[in-house]
Assembly symmetry: C2
Homo-oligomer: 163 residues x 2
DNA sequence: TCTAAATGTTAGATTCGTCTAAGATTATTA
DNA sequence: TAATAATCTTAGACGAATCTAACATTTAGA
């Protein structure tokens, strides 16, 4: 339990952040520049540069001197994957737990690198479950949770029918 | 969104891991030695040593040459805090999402360093809510989620009474 | 067009967390 | 108790991720 040294991830959290940033910036602005990435991640252009040359060697980004930054197909795939993890966490934190969006975003940014595939899957299903209960804006159990959170009071959690 | 460089944490994830390990080992075996900590975290004794001298300078651990390792009151507090975050995540992953314990533990180890106070609070309440629904081993909504997860089928999520 | 501002790159330093290898100390046991 | 085993410490190296400061290139405006 709690071993240090990940092994599991080919990409470090930092590298995932760069790839994610490039994906988001490209999506928002069409192209990504060194400066944009630096602003997005709050690091200096020189840091971006060294990260990019690393990711370039590893085959995730394309970056010619003084040019725009782009993702390779593998980079695109990685970006989509991190962004998905981020959004799943964000949805859970805001929709289910009712956490403030900015706090939720910060937490999601940090946690998005640590989720196993299994957890991503199940969390996604859980959010779907919370969203898809038909015929209402919010399912009853979630409403009850919010009530419990605010008042500390557990209202009728009646036994389920079968079993 | 997604700024690198935490600023927020006085303790790095690595340092939190060391403190947590010491707390757990002390709790299980009475005393913690360099070697135990190294085994626990899968790092070499020399790494433990340098971490300890760092934590010692910062006032979280007490460590005299060739002696057992101990936590200062501040270290105890920090250990309790991380362990709590770990356990909350573990409970959520296993009990609510139904994730395999070993996977859940691995995820919890990585995520435990990234939870804001607000998220810890709400997640704890959520688990209490799932546990404390009276008169049953598992609340109905959780049962429904598991059904949904296994079959993809949403059973009657009836409208809640009021509102 | 040519110069100033913006942007990008390079070199070199720093911090963190790890390692290996060698030596020091403590514990065990023959 | 003396040799051996286990444990701990030190020294030095390395990779990752960042920074600052100086320099190069591109872009845009006068």
């Amino acid at each position: 339990m709690c071993a240090r040294k990940s092994k599991k991830f080919k990409l470090t959290p930092a590298m995932e952040d760069y790839i994610e940033a490039i994906g988001i910036i490209k999506q928002e602005q069409g192209v990504a520049r060194v400066r944009d990435i630096g602003n997005f991640l709050h690091v200096k252009p020189s840091s971006v540069h060294s990260a990019l040359s690393n990711l370039s060697k590893k085959g995730f980004v394309i970056h010619e001197r003084y040019e725009f930054v782009d993702l390779t197909p593998e980079g695109e795939k990685a970006a989509k994957d991190v962004i998905k993890r981020h959004n799943i966490l964000l949805s859970f934190l805001t929709m289910v737990l009712g956490i403030d969006r900015s706090v939720a975003n910060r937490d999601a940014c940090l946690m998005e690198h640590s989720l196993s595939g299994e957890t991503v899957q199940k969390l996604m299903k859980f959010i779907e479950f919370a969203q898809n209960c038909p015929g209402q804006e919010e399912p009853e159990w979630l409403h009850r949770f919010k009530h419990y959170y605010q008042t500390g009071e557990l209202r009728d959690c009646r036994k389920r029918a079968g079993k």
